[in-house]
Amino acid sequence: MNGSFLLTLIWAVPFLTALVSLPVDRDDHRRIKKISLAGNLINLLLVIGLTFAFISTSSEHPAAAGAKLSHFHFTGKTVWLQMLNIEYNIGVDAISVLMMLLTAIVIFCGVLASWNVEKQAKEFFVLLNVLVAGVYGVFISLDLFTFFVFYEIAVLPMYLLIGLWGTGRKEYSAMKLTLMLVAGSAFILAGILGLYFESGMNSFDLQKLAQATFSPEFQYWAFPLIFLGFGVLGAIFPFHTWSPDGHASAPTAVSMLHAGVLMKLGGYGCLRVGMYLLPEGANMWMSFFLVLVTINVLYGAFGAIKQTDLKYITAYSSVSHCGMVLFGFTALTFAGIKGGVLQMISHGLMTALFFCLIGMIYGRTHTRTVSEMGGLMKVMPFLSVAYVIVGLAGLGLPGLSGFVAEANVFVGAFANPAPLYRFCTVLAVLSIVVTAVYVLRAVNGLVNGPISDHYKTLTDASLIEKIPVTILLFCLFAMGILPGWIVELVNGAVHPIYNNLMR
């Protein structure tokens, strides 16, 4: 199969899935869910196929070690709108392939985890699939305009998904999340237009822009615009406040997808558009952003300690862990950037599993407050064990995915000889201890201790709930025990970005 056609197919399948479920009878929930599951299963297989194809192609055509230009495979382009020479221009490198794999896994598990959605199921799955189509679109786009279009498609359905199917202060959270993210897009939009006109190339093509020379003055103001704009979605301090409210209010699958994948779009954009296209700007501003993300890492961790609601704990831990992604990037060392990318994958899997489990537990206990639960190990051993494992992954236990990523991030950040970097790394490492505190406390409160009477009749996970949990657990272990092939792939993709930064 033609590579670029496969890429197009991957974003088209969820979109078609949404279209196909439109004419289905509103009350036929089972059929809608089956369509959605089938669509995403097909896509999961397509993405796995893409990953294998990518591995073989990239080993046949390895990029030169000193290359400054990212090497994309399966490329294809056609002119879309002549008005500003906008192209539909696609292609993937290792980072995008891995992120697509993550997306496919998380959404597949997410559909299974939302099997019990009964309220307006049709709208729910249609919006969910449109959102996912947008996410895939971002990862394959090599044209900044197309990139932005898909980015917004991925962000907007969130408003209704949280507002309509969420819990708690859902309307407030949904509005806050949407507005903050769209305000971030406002900065991105200006940055993209700046890149277009300042390059003088009359093109939004990422590869062409990477070869343009931008004046230092331009890079000086454009880089923070783009980095902060994407950083909002990556929950950069002080623009992280949408994240705890949004994730806590969202329904299970949406939390999984948003924390697991969407927040990575932020990091991906920072790397792909910000650091790759504006290396001098990155060098000028990084110590400033380093301070911000160090606050992220620590603040998120300390914030999580204070929380009693399971979803808020996980949401704050996401702020901390997503901060780690950006922390790796701001380190400006090879290992740091690599660690950031690995952390994107690791955190995606981990947080998806967290929210998935919390959704299942909440569906049974109808509370998310840790102090009201206890002894769940006795009635739901499967869910409890899974929760313990993912908790351990969260605090970076070797053998699980978190360790691989965090080790790289911290080693990479410490490798930068500037005193500020050393100091911030030491501070950030502290967050691991804090993470251990809140994770273990939550685990302890949840699974150990006496069980209250009205929880004694609860049941363990059903088969359909066990599938997503098992898949995600498998991935956590796989990445923890056999990280080699992932690291290898990421290395190849990070080299050009790093070389570009160091020129």
């Binding site: 509103r26 879309w80 709108l81 002549q82 008005m83 709208e123 498609i153 907007l156 507002g163 200006a190």
Partner: protein, 475 residues
């Protein structure tokens, strides 16, 4: 005479509809024949417009110029008139609207058509006098139309207020034009352009341009001349409100394009800061004003003030991108605005045109609610809808001149606007209605119109042909 065909047909159509009542002898209030004449005729004119050659220009005696750009504007005007006619259908049907039934359909349609002819004149003018006559021809009918609920106090108030404000604006415009004439010694664009290129620093010119800008600011609802809009939009019958919000704005934009990229092109660089300040103030005032509006027609007034702000911003751009982005935006803005007004017509059948009237739409009329959501997103500029592409080109026009700070400001403003457009979505989907509501009934005309408009919003952004053609013609 080929290029003049749409103009001729339009006048004939107006005469035909006016003549129909006279021919019948006594005025038949319920007859739908004029309605069918009108929409069929407008469709025919639109088809004629599409088939004309856009790469030719023709100058007719009396300085009546037809160019590709003017044909594009004529498309906007004809489409707007067409949808106004379709929208007015339910308002003339007894029981079609809670506020009351409009009467004298032939009169109404004739006035719409003649007003549209006035707009045709504006885009074909080659001298200040024709330009002025065109603007007046298009403005005076609107004063009559706003008062078309002849027994409704609000409607009469709207009409009076609009006329007063319009009269002041006319005065200012004549005053300004007289300075331009005084400076250049001639009313033709050619002479004016020559004078402007030779003496760009002439104070008389600046004074004249200032007054003309203020006058056209009234029509375009530019801050600080926007105050009339909410009252007029709220008081006028809904089809008229829609017509004012699209056509009247489009003609003001056409007027500005004609001057700024025509005879006043030499002053353009001097005017850019003024344009940007006006744009920034207008979009902010519109967006902040819309936040608290419960009445949807008032809401739309502020929303369209904000939209005017984005449009003016692009006028700081160069002739190519500035002109084509603005014309493209007028198309997508018209589609979205008319879609909202058709939804208002559906709500207004049994209820008030209030935001709370949207409640329960998501459950009772899922398709209509989806259309509302798409429309709101298009107005807010969310991809991949046409509204986003339109706004992106507007922003690009400003960015091309290096006004990046303005782009950031406008994009943040557009985030504010997303808040109140999302309130519509929230009302339709999330808020549970206090009282049980019946599903809204759409008649055939409304259904087809909404279908067409939605298709336009979805396709116009994605299909390249429309923006490419506009770029080729106006760029």
């Amino acid at each position: 005479m080929k290029l003049l065909l749409p103009d001729i047909l339009l006048v004939l159509l107006a005469a035909l509809i006016m003549g129909y009542d006279l021919y019948k002898g006594k005025v038949n209030l319920t007859s739908t024949v004029p309605f069918h004449f009108a929409w069929l005729g407008l469709c025919a004119i639109f088809v004629v417009l599409l088939r004309l050659p856009y790469d030719q220009t023709a100058l007719y005696p009396g300085g009546y110029l037809v160019t590709g750009t003017s044909l594009l504007f004529k498309q906007v005007f004809v489409l707007s008139a067409l949808f106004t006619v379709l929208l007015s259908g339910s308002y003339f049907t007894p029981g079609g609207n809670k506020r009351g039934t409009l009467r004298h359909r032939s009169e109404f349609l004739t006035i719409i058509l003649l007003c549209t002819f006035g707009m045709f004149t504006v885009v074909s003018a080659t001298d200040l006098l024709t330009l002025f006559i065109g603007i007046e021809l298009s403005a005076i009918p609107l004063y009559i139309l706003s008062g078309f609920y002849k027994e409704d106090a609000l409607s009469l108030e709207a009409s009076t207020k609009y006329m007063m404000m319009g009269a002041i604006s006319t005065g200012l415009m004549l005053f300004g034009l007289s300075f331009l004439y005084g400076a250049a010694g001639s009313v033709t664009f050619e002479a004016l352009a020559k004078f402007c290129t030779a003496n760009p620093d002439e104070p008389l010119l600046r004074l004249g341009v200032l007054f003309v800008l203020a006058a056209i600011g009234f029509k375009l609802t530019v801050f600080p001349f926007h105050m009339w809009a909410p009252d007029v939009y709220d008081g006028a019958p809904t089809p008229v409100t829609a017509f004012i919000s699209v056509s009247s704005k489009a003609v003001a934009v056409a007027f500005l394009l004609a001057l700024l990229y025509g005879p006043l092109a030499a002053l353009h660089s001097q005017l850019q800061p003024v344009i940007l300040i006006l744009a920034a103030a207008t979009m902010t005032v519109g967006n902040l004003g819309a936040l608290k509006q419960e009445r949807l027609r008032r809401f739309m007034a502020y929303s369209s003030i904000a939209q005017a702000g984005y449009i003016i911003m692009a006028l700081a751009g160069d002739a190519g991108l500035g002109r084509s982005s603005v014309i493209f935006y007028l198309f997508v803005y018209a589609a979205a605005n008319y879609a909202i007004f058709f939804i208002l017509a559906a709500i207004g059948r049994d209820g008030d045109e209030q935001r709370s009237g949207l409640q329960g739409l998501g459950k009772n009329n899922p398709v209509l609610a989806a259309v509302l959501m798409l429309t709101a997103f298009s107005l807010a500029g969310i991809p991949p809808l046409a509204g986003f592409m339109g706004k992106f080109f507007l922003f690009a026009a400003a960015a091309k001149q290096g006004y990046y700070a303005m782009v950031v400001f406008a994009a943040l403003n557009s985030t504010i606007s997303l808040y109140y457009y999302l309130l519509l979505v929230k009302e339709a989907y999330i808020i549970e209605p206090q009282v049980a509501r019946k599903p809204l009934m759409l008649d055939g005309v409304q259904f087809i119109s909404l279908f067409l408009l939605t298709a336009a919003m979805l396709i116009a952004g994605i299909l390249p042909s429309i923006s490419d053609n506009i770029m080729a013609v106006a760029g």
